[in-house]
Symmetry: C2
DNA sequence: GTTATACCTCGAGCCCACTCTAGGTTTCGG
DNA sequence: CCGAAACCTAGAGTGGGCTCGAGGTATAAC
């Protein structure tokens, strides 16, 4: 079976080898096998698992909670409920983040417009004259 | 003109007074006036400006870059172009974050389904039997 | 076979964004 | 006018997530 070195995996996932070893230290990859001399050998499935780790990270989950999930995976079917619940909760937090980001975007787009018109006028004052104290 | 104390502003923006004082220390609120004895007096417009700071923070901008923006604001119309460019660039990064979050969401939804069916079956094995090594 | 490169661990260091403590002053209700 | 609560500064401490240096072993290319 084909295996991959830590630097190959780092390149694939756009991480550094430092980061991968740090994840290992934090218990996020207990499944990765080693050569007799200690060199890590990553399988395709390991890379798949790390992609889930990255996904959870991208959802804003801290390393320690991701570790809980990994531990549950190691514990087998008895933890299926926890893992399901976790993903359902993640879904909710990501939805909230999307909402938040949408609001942020609206303000930023408004500011793009604000500065475009100000640039055209050569001064910000055109906005100040319209609505006093709006910080528009 | 009505003014607000630091704790009122903290409550309004859902921040701590510590955080607000930290922002001040970092130069994010050079516009906030003081009483002769040094107590900060926030105006409505100051709160508006802080909302923009929060917006930039929510867009992932680090404090130091937000400070640049605040400095540009103090410098007046000569920095209109920089500020416009900054918001256009912010727009792009927020768009990228939205894309990223969408991908994250897809994986999470897939996992919700994965665990829902596994729970119904009582074991994760039903997935393992379908696609070997997919970490689905 | 040797030399360069990649791998390893352990622990220290770094950066960011707060968060809090100590020690002090001010303001405000009764 | 007094005591509680809110304000202030300077600087130390915290937690998360890396990032790196030192010192050493292993493997691969020539």
């Amino acid at each position: 079976m084909k295996t991959f070195s830590i630097s190959e995996v780092a390149k694939e996932l756009d991480l550094t080898v430092y980061t991968l070893r740090y994840y290992d230290k934090e218990g996020l990859m207990p499944f990765v096998e080693r050569t007799p001399s200690g060199t890590r050998l990553f399988k395709e499935t390991d890379i798949g698992a790390l992609k889930i780790v990255e996904c959870l990270k991208a959802s804003g989950m801290p390393i320690k909670e991701i570790k809980n999930f990994i531990d549950w995976c190691s514990d087998g079917d008895s933890t299926l409920q926890q893992r399901y619940d976790m993903f359902v909760e993640r879904k909710a937090t990501v939805e909230a983040q999307m909402e938040e980001l949408k609001k942020t975007m609206e303000i930023i787009e408004h500011k793009c417009f604000y500065y475009k018109t100000a640039l055209e006028a050569g001064t910000e004052d055109i906005h100040k004259n319209n609505k006093i104290g709006s910080f528009d």
